[in-house]
C-alpha cells in the first residue's frame, strides 16, 4: 500500500481556544486525532503572518530560505511599498504578455516529492501564485489578486447620494426608476492611454412584494433573482479590452436593502477558474476541471470580503454567510480530491477561520475599542462556532485516513485581540531617526509611500507589518548610512527605545522587543528582510498607516475598525496548533519541522536547504 500524507491547514486557529474547547469536548474530531496521536503548540515564524508561515511550512526553512518576510515589501530604490507575494512584471514591449512571478523561493516539499516521483495535491497554499509545474496538481491560494490586481476590492451600489467611498472599495450611485442601469467594473485596460476601466452593463429591478432584486447581468446566468439580505450565485462576466480581447471573471451580488434606498454589493471580481487571466492552477486546466466538477468557486487569495464588513457595507450576517459559501466551495474541492487520493501528499488550507477571527474578535473582547455591547450577544460565539465548523469538516477527512496515512492538522499561527495600533514611523520621526521635508507634519502631509520624507536626514523607516529598514547607502535609493558603527548606533537606539515601550493610555507595555535580522534569519534570501522586526505584545499591532509607509495621528491609538483580531505580534506569544495521528517525538514542534516530517514519512530525502527536524 502506498503511503499517504494528508495535511489540513486551518489558518489562525488559536491554541488557547482549541485547548479549552477540547477540554469541553466541543471539537470531537480533533480530539480523535489527538487520542490516537499527539497535539502540540506549534512555533510559528518571525513574523507570525500567513504567507510567511505557510512558506516556511512548505520549504522547511526560516523566511531567509524562502524570501517571504511579510505581505508587504518595499522597493529599496523608491521606498515604495508593494505586495510582496508575487510580482507583476510589466511587459517589456507591447508584443509581450504581462506576467506574474511568484516571489517565494526555496525548495517546497512538493518539489522534493516531484523529484522522487511521488505525486502531490496542493490546494490553496499561500504563495503559490502563479502555480509551478509539479508532479500532481496545485490550486493557488493567498496571493492571487482579483481581476483588477487588488487583494480584494468590492463595489458598493447605492441610491443614497450622501454616501462617500470608504477604503478599498468602489462606490457607484444608482439612479431611481423601475429599471436601473449600472455596471460592474472589470479590469483596467492598461493598453489604452490613459487607462480606462472595462465594464459590463447590468440592469436591476426591485421586486418589493417578493423582497428581491431582479438582475439582468449581461453575463452568465443572464438573469438572476437575489432575495434581500442574501448572496447570489456566481455570475460570470466578460470584460472586453477590445473587439478581439476579453477576459472573464466571476462575482457574487449581495442585496443589502431594497428600500428606502436600493443598496447592493458586488464582490471583488475573481479570476474565472475556467479561464483565468493568469494561471491559478497547475496544470493550467486543473482549475477548469474543478469548476466543471464542483461548480464555480472563488479563486481570490483573500476571498472573504473583510473590507465589505470593515466599511459597513456588509453586516456580520452577510460576511459570515459569505465565509460559509466559500468554506463549502473549498470543502467540495477537498472531498473531490480526497476521494481520488491514493498516494503521496495532500494539502489543503481553509483560510476562513483566520478571516472570521480578524473580523469577529471584537465580540470576544470587552476591552476592544470596537466592542459593540448591543450586538455582542448575537455574535460572541461566532469564533467558537467557526472552530466547531472546522472540526466538522474533518469528519470527512478522517474517513480517508487509514493505517498508511499520516494525518496532520495545523494552524500557522494563533490569534489575539488587536486593540491598539502603534505607529512606528511616528516614533522614528519623534526620535529623530526619520525626517520630513521643511515644515511637513507627519499625519497631515503624508499620504502612503513616504511622499514627504527627507531621505538625506532619515536613518530608518518602517514599511510592512512590523519591519523597519535602515536607510543604507548603496541599497536604498537615497541612502545615507554605512554599515558599521553608525548603523549599529541606529539599530541599538531603536532596540532600546522600543523594548517594553509603555502605552501611556493603557499602562501596558506595547512592545516586547525588537529582533535584528541576523538573529532571526539566515539563508540565501535573508538579505531582503527588514533590518529590524518589532515584536508587539498581544493586544498591539503596527498601525494601518505605518504598514504602507504613512503616519497615524498619534503614536499609539485605538483600533476602531471591525478588523479587530490579529496575530502579527511577538511570534513566541502566538503559536499555532499541531495535531498528528502519530506520536510526535519532539515536545517543541516548529512549523519548519513539518516539511521534513512529511518527507521522512514518505521516505524521501530532504533538500539540503531544509532546517527543520522530523517530528516522527
Amino acid at each position: 500500500m502506498p503511503k499517504k500524507v494528508i495535511v489540513i491547514g486551518l489558518d489562525g486557529l488559536e491554541p488557547t481556544i482549541v485547548e479549552s474547547m477540547l477540554e469541553r469536548g466541543e471539537l470531537p474530531n480533533l480530539a480523535k486525532v489527538r487520542q490516537n496521536g499527539s497535539y502540540r503548540r506549534l512555533q510559528t515564524t518571525y513574523p507570525a503572518q500567513t504567507p510567511v508561515a505557510w512558506s516556511s511550512f512548505a520549504t522547511g526553512t526560516n523566511p531567509g530560505g524562502h524570501g517571504i518576510f511579510d505581505f508587504i515589501s518595499r522597493d529599496p530604490l523608491t521606498y515604495q511599498p508593494d505586495a510582496a507575494l508575487s510580482r507583476f512584471e510589466r511587459p517589456k514591449s507591447v508584443l509581450a504578455q504581462s506576467r506574474v512571478v511568484n516571489q517565494r523561493k526555496g525548495v517546497p516539499l512538493w518539489q522534493a516529492l516531484t523529484k522522487a516521483g511521488i505525486p502531490s495535491v496542493v490546494l490553496r497554499c499561500p504563495c503559490t501564485f502563479p502555480p509551478e509545474a509539479l508532479n500532481g496538481k496545485m490550486l493557488a491560494g493567498v496571493g492571487v489578486p482579483d481581476l483588477r490586481g487588488s487583494q480584494s476590492k468590492g463595489t458598493f451600489y447605492t441610491q443614497d447620494r450622501t454616501v462617500t467611498a470608504q477604503e478599498h472599495e468602489q462606490l457607484l450611485f444608482l439612479d431611481s426608476g423601475p429599471e436601473i442601469v449600472s455596471q460592474v467594473i472589470g479590469p483596467r485596460n492598461t493598453r489604452q492611454n490613459p487607462p480606462t476601466d472595462t465594464t459590463c452593463e447590468i440592469k436591476v429591478r426591485v421586486d418589493k412584494p417578493g423582497r428581491k432584486l431582479l438582475i439582468q447581468t449581461g453575463g452568465t446566468p443572464a438573469g438572476i433573482e437575489v432575495a434581500e439580505k442574501s448572496w447570489s450565485e456566481w455570475v460570470r462576466f466578460r470584460f472586453k479590452f477590445s473587439m478581439l480581447q476579453s477576459v472573464t471573471g466571476i462575482a457574487r451580488f449581495y442585496v443589502r436593502q431594497l428600500e428606502p434606498h436600493l443598496e447592493f454589493y458586488v464582490s471583488a471580481i475573481n479570476f474565472d477558474p475556467a479561464a483565468p487571466m493568469f494561471p491559478v492552477s497547475s496544470p493550467n486546466e486543473y482549475a477548469k476541471e474543478l469548476s466543471e466538477k464542483v461548480g464555480l468557486f472563488s479563486t481570490l487569495g483573500m476571498a472573504e470580503d473583510h473590507n465589505g464588513l470593515n466599511n459597513g457595507r456588509l453586516d456580520e450576517a452577510a460576511y459570515l454567510a459569505q465565509c460559509e459559501l466559500i468554506l463549502q466551495e473549498r470543502e467540495r474541492v477537498m472531498r473531490l480530491e480526497l476521494d481520488r487520493f491514493t498516494e503521496g501528499f495532500f494539502f489543503t488550507l481553509f483560510d476562513t477561520p483566520d478571516r472570521v477571527q480578524h473580523m469577529m474578535w471584537r465580540f470576544l473582547d470587552r476591552e476592544h475599542p470596537s466592542y459593540q455591547p448591543d450586538i455582542a450577544r448575537e455574535w460572541e460565539h461566532q469564533v467558537e462556532e467557526h472552530y466547531q465548523r472546522c472540526d466538522r469538516l474533518l469528519s470527512s477527512v478522517l474517513e480517508h485516513v487509514d493505517e498508511n496515512t499520516l494525518l496532520i492538522v495545523l494552524s500557522d499561527h494563533g490569534f489575539g485581540s488587536f486593540r491598539r495600533a502603534f505607529d512606528t514611523n511616528t516614533w522614528l520621526c519623534e526620535n529623530g531617526l526619520l525626517a520630513l521635508r521643511n515644515g511637513r507634519k507627519p499625519a497631515a502631509d503624508m499620504g502612503e509611500g513616504f511622499t514627504s520624507v527627507d531621505w538625506s536626514k532619515t536613518y530608518a523607516y518602517a514599511v510592512g507589518l512590523g519591519g523597519i529598514y535602515l536607510n543604507f547607502k548603496g541599497r536604498e535609493g537615497a541612502g545615507i548610512l554605512d554599515e558599521g558603527t553608525e548603523a549599529e548606533r541606529v539599530r541599538k537606539a531603536i532596540q532600546s527605545g522600543l523594548s517594553e515601550l509603555p502605552d501611556k493610555q493603557t499602562h501596558r507595555p506595547a512592545i516586547r522587543g525588537v529582533s535584528r535580522r541576523e538573529e532571526i534569519y539566515s539563508g540565501e534570501f535573508a538579505g531582503a528582510a527588514p533590518d529590524l522586526l518589532v515584536n508587539f505584545h498581544r493586544g498591539f499591532r503596527v498601525s494601518w498607516q505605518s504598514a504602507v509607509g504613512g503616519f497615524a495621528d498619534n503614536l499609539i491609538e485605538d483600533n476602531t475598525r471591525r478588523w479587530s483580531g490579529d496575530h502579527i505580534v511577538d511570534p513566541e506569544s502566538v503559536p499555532g496548533i499541531l495535531f498528528m495521528n502519530r506520536f510526535a517525538s519532539q515536545n517543541h514542534a516548529r512549523i519548519i519541522d513539518l516539511a521534513p516530517t512529511i518527507l521522512s514519512y514518505l521516505e524521501v530525502g530532504r533538500p539540503d536547504t531544509m532546517e527543520g527536524k522530523s517530528l516522527l
Binding site: 508593494d82 511587459p91 509581450a96 478599498h168 490613459p194 478581439l244 507589518l465 504602507v548 478588523w563
Partner: protein, 481 residues
C-alpha cells in the same frame, strides 16, 4: 527594421480568428493589421512559400506543384532552392548587408546558401544522414540542443492516433526550441520560420474535428487535437513575442487555408477510363504514378501531382503521339470533359480548368497543358488502382482536409499606418509590404503591392500608466493595511 515571419502552414482563418483562447494571436491582431490572404494556385506549401517570399506567381517561378517536370522526359522532381531564380525577400535584405535566418521555408534541400542561416524543410530527407543546415556545422549544434532535429513527421500512418499526435507535438517543441535559440543567439535581420506541423495535424485530424465532414463522429477522441494544436502554436508564438522587442515587424501568416474534404478524385484513373492514358498492366491496388507501367506509345495525357495535365505530344515528348496541330483541340475537349464532372450530388467538381498562361502573368519551365482547380472540398490524387474515380479516402496516405485558397495574415509593425481588419490582401503582397515597412528597397520585378504603398509611416508608441497607481491597487484590500 528587423522582420520576424512566423508561418503557420495551412492555418485556417475560421479557427485562428475566432478562437478567443489564442491570447497571443489576439494581442497581435489588436496591435496590428490582419485579414484573409488570397493564396496562389495551387494553394500548397510548394509553390506557395516560394511565391510568398519572391512575390511571384507559380507560372513566373515555373513551379506548378510539388512535382515538376524538369524537361520533356516523363520524369518529375521536387523543387530545390536552385529552382527559384526570382529575387526573394532575403535577397533585398542581403543587399543592405543584413542577415537572414530561414527555418523550414520550402524548398530548402539541399540547404540554401545565403548570408545567414538556413535549416531544412519538409522536403529534406533524413537529417541524420544528410546535411540539412547552412552552414553545415550548425546541424551538430541543433542536435546538441534538441537531439535529432525533425524537419517533418515520419508518420508511418496518417490515420488519427495518439502516436501521431505525440510525434507532431514533439516535432513542434523541438522546432520552436530551435527557433527561440536562433532568435536569441544568432544575428538576424530577417527571420522566417514555417511550422509544417499544423499542416500535418490538419491533414490527419480534420475529419475528427469538423462536423461538416460526412465522416465526422461526435465525441471521437481526436476532436480537440486541431484546436489544441492552435493553442500550442499560440503559446509558442507567445514565447517568441516575449523575446523580441516591439520595434520590429512581426508577421504571422498561412500560405493557404484548410477546408473539410468531401472526397478525392483519381485523375489518372479517370484518364485511363477515358482511354487517354494506357497502362501495360492495370495495378491491383493503389499505385502512384511513378510506379505505374505506362504505355507511353499509346497514351495521350497524364496527370502529375495537383492535377497538372500534360499531353503526350509528338515531337515534344519522347514517345509523343498527339500531333502538335491537334493539341489545342485535345485541350478544349478535355476542358469540357473536366467541366462536366460532378460529385454524387451533381455539384461541379472543378472550380476552374485553365491553360497556365491564362492564370499566370507569365509561364516558364515545363508548363502543364491544363491545370485543374478542384473545388476546395475535393482533392485530386494521381494514383491508379482504386477501382473507381471517386474516393472517400486516399488509401495510400490518409488525408482529412482540403486546401483552401484563403490563407490569413496578422501583421504588426510599430510604424504601420494601418490597423484592424484588411480585405483583399494577397500572398504576393506580403514580401513588398514587409520590405516597405522594414525600410528596404522593393525589387521592381515583384508582382505584389505593398499594403502601405505610398502611405506615411507611423512613429512608435509605448505603454503607459503610473506605477504608483498600479501599486496602490495591488495593496488595496489587503485587510492588514
Amino acid at each position: 527594421m528587423k522582420i520576424c515571419v512566423l508561418g503557420l502552414s495551412g492555418a485556417s482563418h475560421e479557427i485562428l480568428f475566432s478562437d478567443e483562447r489564442l491570447g497571443n494571436i489576439r494581442r497581435l491582431m489588436d496591435l496590428g493589421l490582419y485579414g484573409r490572404l488570397e493564396s496562389v494556385f495551387p494553394p500548397t506549401p510548394v509553390p506557395a512559400w516560394m511565391s510568398m517570399t519572391t512575390s511571384q506567381d507559380p507560372g513566373f517561378l515555373g513551379v506548378y506543384g510539388l512535382r515538376n517536370r524538369l524537361d520533356r522526359s516523363y520524369n518529375s522532381a521536387t523543387p530545390t532552392p536552385a529552382s527559384v531564380h526570382a529575387p526573394a525577400l532575403w535577397d533585398a535584405i542581403t543587399l543592405q548587408g543584413k542577415k537572414s535566418v530561414l527555418v523550414g521555408v520550402p524548398p530548402n534541400f539541399p540547404p540554401r546558401v545565403l548570408d545567414g542561416i538556413s535549416i531544412g524543410c519538409f522536403l529534406t530527407p533524413e537529417t541524420s544522414q544528410h546535411e540539412f543546415t547552412y552552414p553545415a556545422n550548425l546541424g551538430e549544434k541543433l542536435r546538441e540542443l534538441v537531439g535529432d532535429y525533425p524537419v517533418d513527421v515520419k508518420r508511418a500512418s496518417n490515420t488519427p492516433s495518439d502516436a501521431l499526435v505525440e510525434e507532431i507535438v514533439n516535432m513542434n517543441r523541438k522546432q520552436w526550441e530551435v527557433v527561440r535559440w536562433l532568435i536569441a543567439e544568432q544575428p538576424w535581420d530577417y527571420f522566417h520560420f514555417v511550422d509544417i506541423g499544423l499542416d500535418r495535424v490538419q491533414h490527419a485530424f480534420w475529419t475528427s474535428f469538423d462536423p461538416q465532414n460526412t465522416q465526422f463522429q461526435q465525441g471521437n477522441p481526436y476532436q480537440q487535437v486541431i484546436p489544441d494544436y492552435y493553442q500550442l502554436l499560440d503559446e509558442q508564438i507567445g514565447t517568441v513575442l516575449e523575446m523580441i522587442d516591439d520595434q520590429m515587424i512581426v508577421l504571422v501568416l498561412s500560405e493557404y487555408g484548410a477546408q473539410h474534404l468531401d472526397g478525392l478524385f483519381a485523375v489518372n484513373e479517370w484518364l485511363v477510363n477515358e482511354g487517354l492514358l494506357v497502362l501495360d498492366e492495370q495495378p491491383l491496388s493503389s499505385t502512384t504514378l511513378e510506379k505505374l507501367n505506362v504505355n507511353w506509345a499509346k497514351s495521350k495525357a497524364w496527370a502529375e501531382g495537383n492535377a497538372d495535365i500534360f499531353f503526350n505530344v509528338k515531337g515534344r515528348e519522347p514517345q509523343g503521339i498527339v500531333p502538335a496541330d491537334e493539341l489545342e483541340a485535345l485541350r478544349q475537349d478535355l476542358k469540357l470533359r473536366f467541366d462536366a464532372l460532378t460529385d454524387q450530388s451533381g455539384r461541379r467538381l472543378c472550380a476552374g480548368v485553365s491553360k497556365p498562361s491564362e492564370i499566370y502573368r507569365s509561364v516558364t519551365n515545363v508548363t502543364p497543358d491544363l491545370m485543374i482547380h478542384f473545388d476546395s472540398n475535393w482533392r485530386s490524387i494521381d494514383s491508379v488502382g482504386h477501382g473507381g474515380n471517386y474516393l472517400l479516402q486516399n488509401d495510400l496516405i490518409y488525408d482529412a482536409c482540403g486546401y483552401s485558397t484563403d490563407g490569413l495574415f496578422v501583421l504588426y509593425a510599430p510604424n504601420n499606418p494601418l490597423a484592424g481588419e484588411y480585405q483583399g490582401a494577397s500572398l504576393l503582397d506580403m514580401a513588398p509590404t514587409l520590405l516597405d515597412l522594414g525600410g528596404y528597397e522593393i525589387p521592381k520585378s515583384m508582382q505584389g503591392k505593398s499594403l502601405v504603398a505610398g502611405m506615411e509611416k507611423k512613429s512608435g508608441s509605448g505603454l503607459s500608466e503610473s506605477d504608483e497607481k498600479l501599486i496602490h491597487d495591488r495593496l488595496a484590500g489587503l485587510g492588514y493595511v
